[in-house]
C-alpha cells in the first residue's frame, strides 16, 4: 500500500514499527532507526459510519470481510484500521486529550497487530534479570501494578497492558514508557500521576510515565506469568503449566482475541497460541491481594523465576 504522508511529520516508534502520525502521540518515543518507509501511518480523515460486508460487529467495533476494522467510542472519536499499516482517525476531543491515545494504543493497535500477524497479549512485560517476563491476565488482576512494583526494584518496562510478540523470533517488541494505573496503586507505590486517562470523567485512572525505567530494544520472551489473585493461602506463588492447560492460558491471554479470530481466522490465532504455549514457559502466578505484601513479593519474584527458568 502506498503510504502518503507529509515527510515533515516526525517519526515515532511503536513495537519496532516506524510510525508516522499527524496526530500528537506523546506516549511514543521518537523513531531512531533506519530510514525505512513508514510501517504505520496515523492520519486524520473521514471514517465511514459503517463498513460493508461485516464478519463481526459489536457496539464499539466492526470487522469487514477484507480485514478492515472500524472502532468508535462515541465521546472520543472513530478509527478506521486498514491493511495492518494505516489508521484513519476522526477525533471528537481536543488534541491534548489523552483519550485518543488511550484507545488508539489499546484496542485499535491490537486490531492492527492482528492484521499484521503480530501476536498481542493482554499483558505487561518487564525485563527481569535480562529476561522478558510477561504478566498476563484479565483487567483488574494487577498486571500494571505488579509491573510498576518490579520497576520500583530497578527492573525495566517493555510494555504495559498490551505486549506484542513477534512469534517468528519469539521477541517482545517494546511498546512505550506509559503505564495506566488507578489512584490506589499510585498511592501505594508513591508514583506521580500524569493526565487523567478519560478527560472529563470521574474515573481516577491516570497515565504514569516510566521513561527512566523503559527498555526500548526487543528481548526474547522468556516466560509468560498468568496472574491470579491469591484468594486462598498456602498456594505456591509460581506453578508451571504445560500441554493443554498452557494452551488454554495463552489463548485466554490473547488481546482482543475475538477480533483477532475475525481478522486472522480462528486457525491463525489457534496456531499462534499453540506456538507460544509450546515454545515459551507458561506459569500461573499467584499474587498477594492488596498492597501490603506487594513490595516484598516483587522483591522475591526474580529469585523464584531464576529457580524455574534455564
Amino acid at each position: 500500500m502506498e503510504l502518503n504522508v507529509a515527510s515533515s511529520v516526525a517519526g515515532l516508534c511503536l513495537c519496532g514499527l516506524r510510525v508516522v502520525s499527524d496526530f500528537p502521540l506523546p506516549e511514543l518515543p521518537p523513531w531512531v532507526g533506519d530510514d525505512r518507509p513508514a510501517d504505520m501511518v496515523i492520519r486524520r480523515g473521514k471514517v465511514p459510519s459503517a463498513l460493508p460486508d461485516l464478519v463481526r460487529q459489536t457496539p464499539f467495533a466492526q470487522f469487514a470481510a477484507d480485514g478492515t476494522a472500524r472502532f468508535e467510542i462515541a465521546d472520543v472519536g472513530a478509527f478506521l484500521i486498514r491493511g495492518g499499516c494505516e489508521v484513519v482517525l476522526a477525533p471528537r476531543l481536543p488534541d491534548d486529550a489523552p483519550d485518543i491515545g488511550l484507545f488508539l494504543l489499546g484496542s485499535v493497535f491490537g486490531f492492527l497487530c492482528h492484521q499484521r500477524g503480530l501476536l498481542p497479549l493482554h499483558a505487561s512485560c518487564v525485563e527481569v534479570d535480562g529476561r522478558a517476563i510477561a504478566f498476563a491476565g484479565p483487567s483488574g488482576v494487577g498486571k500494571s501494578t505488579l509491573a510498576a512494583a518490579l520497576l520500583a526494584q530497578g527492573w525495566r518496562l517493555l510494555s504495559d497492558d498490551v505486549t506484542v510478540v513477534d512469534l517468528g523470533r519469539a521477541l517482545v517488541l517494546p511498546s512505550f514508557p506509559r503505564q495506566k494505573l488507578w489512584q490506589d496503586s499510585l498511592e501505594a507505590l508513591a508514583l506521580s500521576p500524569g493526565r487523567r486517562l478519560r478527560s472529563g470523567m470521574t474515573m481516577e485512572k491516570f497515565e504514569v510515565w516510566q521513561e527512566a525505567g523503559f527498555r526500548d530494544h526487543p528481548l526474547k520472551l522468556a516466560a509468560v506469568c498468568h496472574v491470579v489473585e491469591e484468594r486462598l493461602s498456602g498456594r505456591p506463588p509460581l506453578t508451571r503449566h504445560g500441554g493443554l492447560a498452557a494452551l488454554a492460558l495463552v489463548r485466554s491471554a490473547i488481546y482482543r482475541r475475538a477480533a483477532g479470530e475475525a481478522l486472522a481466522g480462528g486457525d491463525g490465532i489457534f496456531t499462534a497460541a499453540a506456538a507460544l504455549a509450546a515454545n515459551v514457559p507458561q506459569f500461573g502466578l499467584c499474587r498477594p491481594m492488596g498492597f501490603d505484601r506487594l513490595a516484598g513479593f516483587a522483591e522475591a519474584l526474580p529469585g523464584l523465576l531464576r529457580e524455574r527458568l534455564p
Binding site: 464499539f60 483487567s139 485466554s252 482475541r257 475475538a258
Partner: protein, 279 residues
C-alpha cells in the same frame, strides 16, 4: 436457542447457597467443594473479561455509563457462544441499559430465580461481608445510587453493578421482567429447599430424581459449607470479611440491631417488606 437463566438477588441473600445447590443438583446431588464448584459455563454476569472479549474493548477504560449502555449487546454476543443453558449469578437490579433496552434482554433469557431475604438480616450480613458498620449498610441499602464494584479509584475484576436501593431491587426483579421469574425467599430455602430446587430444575429443563434433590440439600447444609471454609478457606470471600459462611439462618438481626436501626430499615422498606411477609 440456548439462553441465560439468571440467579438474581441483592447481595447476601442466598445466591451462593443456591449456586452450590444447583451445582450439586446438576451432578446428581453429589458433594460440592466450595472452592471448585464452578463449571465452565457458570460465572457472574458482571464478569469483566467476558464483556471485554465479547465487545473488543477494555471496559476498565470506559465510564460506567458507557459500560451499562453496551451490556445488552455483550450478553447477546455471549449468548451466541453458549452451548447449554447458562446459569449466571446476577446482583444488578433489573434495569434498562437505555430506554426500552433491558440490561438482561428477554430474547436471550430463559427465566430467572429471584432470591430475597429479610433486609434486617441482609444488613447484618452485608456489614460483615463488606467490612462496614451497620449504619453504613443501612444507608447503602436505602440509596438508589448504590452499586457494587464502582469504577472510581481502583481496578475492579467485576463490572460496576447498579443495585438501586433494596426495595427498588426487589420490585425491579419481581415486577418488570418480560420473562418468567421464580421468587424465592431465603427463609423458605431454610425450611423447604427441596421443593424450591424441584421448581427450578423444571424451569431450566433439568431432569432430576428425588434422591438428587435430597443430595443437593444435604450437600449444601450450612454446617457443611462452614466446615469447608474453616478447613480450607473460600475463594469468594471478601478480603474485608472474617468468614463468608458466617451464621446463615433467619432472624439473627434481633441479637445485633438496635431498636432504632431495625425501625429505620422498616421505615425505608416497609411497603416491600410487608409485600414479602417480613412485616
Amino acid at each position: 436457542m440456548t439462553r441465560f437463566f439468571w440467579l438474581a438477588s441483592y447481595p447476601k441473600s442466598g445466591n451462593t447457597w443456591m449456586r452450590l445447590a444447583l451445582s450439586s443438583l446438576r451432578s446428581g446431588g453429589g458433594a460440592v467443594d466450595i472452592n471448585r464448584f464452578r463449571v465452565a459455563d457458570e460465572t457472574i454476569a458482571a464478569d469483566r473479561g467476558a464483556f471485554d472479549l465479547a465487545l473488543d474493548v477494555e471496559s476498565s477504560d470506559l465510564s460506567e455509563a458507557e459500560i451499562l449502555a453496551a451490556r445488552p449487546a455483550a450478553f447477546r454476543a455471549m449468548a451466541a457462544e453458549l452451548r447449554t443453558t447458562a446459569i449466571w449469578k446476577v446482583h444488578e437490579a433489573y434495569l434498562e441499559a437505555a430506554p426500552g433496552q433491558p440490561l438482561f434482554p428477554p430474547d436471550i433469557t430463559l427465566g430467572a430465580v429471584y432470591m430475597v431475604r429479610d433486609p434486617r438480616d441482609v444488613v447484618v450480613s452485608l456489614s460483615h461481608h463488606a467490612g462496614i458498620c451497620i449504619d453504613q449498610a443501612i444507608a447503602d441499602m436505602a440509596s438508589s445510587a448504590h452499586r457494587l464494584s464502582g469504577q472510581r479509584r481502583r481496578a475492579q475484576p467485576q463490572l460496576p453493578q447498579p443495585v438501586l436501593d433494596w426495595s427498588g431491587h426487589v420490585e425491579s426483579w419481581l415486577d418488570r421482567p418480560a420473562f418468567p421469574v421464580i421468587p424465592v425467599r431465603y427463609e423458605d430455602m431454610l425450611t423447604g429447599l427441596s421443593g424450591i430446587l424441584t421448581r427450578i430444575a423444571a424451569a431450566i429443563g433439568l431432569t432430576v430424581t428425588a434422591a438428587a434433590i435430597e443430595g443437593a440439600v444435604a450437600a449444601t447444609r450450612f454446617d457443611t459449607l462452614r466446615h469447608q471454609e474453616a478447613e480450607r478457606g473460600f475463594v469468594e470471600k471478601s478480603p474485608k470479611a472474617a468468614v463468608f459462611f458466617r451464621r446463615g439462618g433467619a432472624g439473627g438481626w434481633r441479637d445485633i440491631l438496635t431498636e432504632a436501626q431495625a425501625e429505620r430499615i422498616c421505615t425505608d422498606h416497609g411497603r416491600v417488606m410487608t409485600r414479602l411477609g417480613y412485616l
